[in-house]
Structures are given as structure tokens and as C-alpha cells.
Symmetry: C2
Subunit: 157 residues, 2 copies
Amino acid sequence: MQRVTNCFLQQNDQLLMLKKPSYDWWNAPGGKMEPGESVYDSVRREFREETGLALERPHLRGVFTFITMEDGLTANEWMMFTFEAFGSEGRLLNESPEGILEWKEKQKVSSLPMAEGDKAIVEHILSNKGTVYGTFRYTKDRRLLDSRFEQSTSYYT
Amino acid sequence: MQRVTNCFLQQNDQLLMLKKPSYDWWNAPGGKMEPGESVYDSVRREFREETGLALERPHLRGVFTFITMEDGLTANEWMMFTFEAFGSEGRLLNESPEGILEWKEKQKVSSLPMAEGDKAIVEHILSNKGTVYGTFRYTKDRRLLDSRFEQSTSYYT
């Protein structure tokens, strides 16, 4: 099963976003987990590879299940683990191997061109404080059929 | 990839534990995720099936990666998502379809017969307040080769 990790790095009310060439869609930097890798190691490795930045204290904010439907059946399933961080070390790459990197105003991020499910994820992560759980069903041509969110908060806040 | 969810249900300084017949090892109740299911739906379904109890406000506390090594190579990989809850509705089953259910003193739980990795997970979850990330490498005959933990805490506490 494909598993992806990414991170919302926030600084001065801005979010570091990446525009991948496919579909011209924006999203938080991240990428595929490697076999045997923990979600925590994966997000730090992927973020560094895509941005040049070492994340400081990333914290898991969301666990998402994506399903592609074909002829009424589940054709493919993958998961995404979304972290959040407020600090990083290193120097932002001028050019990412994966696409265009830009700091975007937090409040305007969800109006960027984005996969419909990713837009909902950005909104949920930025407007909540706990952990978000989501399920998304897509058609083969990337149209969102439906989505569902749950959330929970720590007992130690 | 096999994925498992479970939950540490805590009440009056006790933890609800399940002893599965295989190996006579104790662990928190839970079980295998179904295709297309979110981690949140899975833990509530599995916990209800195994205990009769509907979890109230389960919160994700740990994401773990397990690897079985064979001849120096990764032979199998699976993930576990561990939740925590402090309340439930319904009536505890007298007999679980999966094994023996018992409330155990929190402080004594880690001295129960348990897979070595699970013991470390119990200790980390009970002694920390944030989210725990772990990686475990096992031999084919369930001997723990090594493990590693990371943790992070919410930015909103």
C-alpha cells in the first residue's frame, strides 16, 4: 500500500507550499514512505529532500485514507500522514526537484489550485487543534466522490 | 500491508487488557483494519467487537512500524495505530471472541507476559503525553532485534 507523509511548515502566518508539475496543484511538501520507515523519519527525510529544510519538532496532525473507485469497486487505496511544524533549520532550496516552492499566506492557501480532498485537509488542519482523521473516495480521473472527517483532541492539554 | 488499530482504555487507574490464546500474551484490545477504513473507524469497530464497549473520544497516541527480518532482509512489514480513551459506553463482554478480557492495574501492566515491543509501547504511551512514533525489527520467531522511539507534542497544549 502506498503511504505518503507531508508537513505544513508555518512561519509568520505563512505556509510553505509546493506546486507539483502534474495538474499544477499545490500541496504541502512531502512524498512516499520507504519500506520499513517510520512516519516520523519519513516526513523529515521527504521534507528535507523537497525543500532543503530540516523540520524542527514535527507533530502528526492527520491520518487520511484515500480510495480510488472503479466500476463501484475499490481499485486502489493509499494513506497520508500529515504533520505540522513551526520551525526548521537550513536554507530553502531555490528550486525543488519536485516543483515550485513558495511561502503562501495561510488564509489564502485553500483558494490555491489544489486537489479537492487536499483543500479540505488544509482547512481542517488549520482550523482545528487536535488530530484529524479523514476518508476520501475518488474516481479514477481524480474527481472527489465523498469525504468524511473525524477529529479528537489530546487528554493532556 | 497489514494494519492494526488498538486502544488503551483507562478507568480508575486500570487498563482494559486482552490475552489472546496465541503465546498467552496480553495487549490492548484491537485488530486488523479493513480495506478503505479510516484508523478512527477501525479502532471503534475493533474495540466494540472484542470488548462489547463503544469507545468515547478515542485519541491517536502512537503510530508504529513493525518489520520481520529474514536472512538479513525485510520479509514483512505492518503498522499499528494505538489510541487512548478514558470512557466507554455499553457492557463489557463476559467472554471476548478473541481471548480473556481483564482490567489490570496501570502500574503493573508492563510486567504482564507481552511481546517485547508491545511492552515498550505500553511504557511509552503511559509515561508520555504526546504522540509516539516507533519502529521495531523482529526475527521470524518473534524475537525483538531492535526498536526506536520518537515523540512529539501538540503545539496547542
